[in-house]
Amino acid sequence: MDANAAYGRALARAFGGALLFSFPLLMTMEMWSLGMAVERWRLLAFLLLSLPMLLGLSYYAGFEPTFRLKDEVLDALAAFGVGFLLAALLLAVFGVFERPGPFWRADLGKIALCAVPGAIGALVAGKQLGEDAPSSRERSEAGTLGELFLMAVGALFLAFNVAPTEEMILIAYQMGPLQALLLMALSVLLLHAFVYRLGFPGESRRRAARGPLRTFVGFTAPGYGVALIVSLYLLWTFGRTDGVAPHEIATMTIVLAFPAALGAATARLVV
């Protein structure tokens, strides 16, 4: 019974985290229209990709201090359920669903799209709102691939909050090529500074021990690459790239890569 009670507390924390992290999206109009507008194959790919991502995230920041594969799978599934149920409940409360008529694919699309950030929040909450600090052993175990994975999740997470909005496209239209390059430079600079220079908790000391150039080549550059890829993927998933000129896609990607880079930089902070 004790174990169940402890798990119940962890589950409640997970709901809290999912709420905290996904309510901005649940209260964003574009998420509702995207839920019905996103091409179904892309939505399916997004959902299928999200499960292994949750699994990996559960390994690094699960809401149970687990190490075994079975537990990771259970945690990842539970997190998805938390995100899904929370999205369904809140969207219903917000009156987003069509009032008459049956529950159908537009509604399910909205829930499915919002479930993923909620699930990330649920997993992250285990660490953020948890009583026990995460073991430092787990963190130092993250190799280069693990670091990149965490950066990708951080980038996805922060970029997801703004990716569905019209403003991303609008900003891309407003910016000239010079401004785009400037924003790119700014993103890289911030990414570098955030992770390795400002001394946030989660900054890896062993990286600071290396030379700044090696750090840049080894972590900042791949980090920004990850941010760009995640941004392009999100824009493609949301159908923002369809029928758009290549240079405009590039600008949009750079715009979205700005929050994505910040997310990648602070991944260690959040995740």
Partner: protein, 147 residues
């Protein structure tokens, strides 16, 4: 809460887990919540996949129906319902009602933000004359793709 401290037999623990602190079997609640999560994931993936494979992709086909007419001091309010019979959602659906009776025909229009496929949305058209007295033609004039 901790009145019955459980003494777990050490034999159940797996020492093989590379020296890591391995827990006992996951509690029942963990299995239940994971099962619910699995069900949610299967519903989401199943429905979206089924829709992607077999879903209809016909263009929006919007029918506009008159629901009720209410005389108000500011004109006759005709409440209408637009039903999208097509297989794709439509955005910014412009609906128009032309009321022809004696004299000039009267036109009223409204824009509905979104009508998902096989769903309905409601709106209102306002006329100066009573739509019930003349001949009212309702139709959707156009729409934008949802994005």
């Amino acid at each position: 809460m901790a009145t019955t401290p459980k003494t777990r037999p050490p034999a159940k623990r797996k020492p093989s887990a590379a020296g890591r602190a391995s827990r006992d079997e996951p509690p029942l609640l963990e299995w239940i919540s994971a099962a619910i999560g699995l069900a949610c994931a299967l519903v989401a993936i199943g429905f979206v996949g089924w829709d992607a494979l077999l879903g209809e992709r016909s263009p929006p086909a919007v029918e506009v129906r008159l629901m009720a007419v209410t005389p108000t001091p500011h004109g006759f309010v005709a409440e209408v319902e637009a039903i999208n019979h097509g297989g794709s959602p439509a955005a910014q659906v412009a609906i128009e009602g032309v009321l022809s009776g004696e004299g000039e025909p009267e036109t009223a229009q409204a824009t509905l933000d979104y009508i998902p496929e096989r769903s309905r949305a409601k709106g209102g058209l306002v006329f100066e004359h009573d739509p019930r007295a003349g001949r009212l033609v309702l139709r959707a004039k156009g729409f934008a793709d949802v994005s």
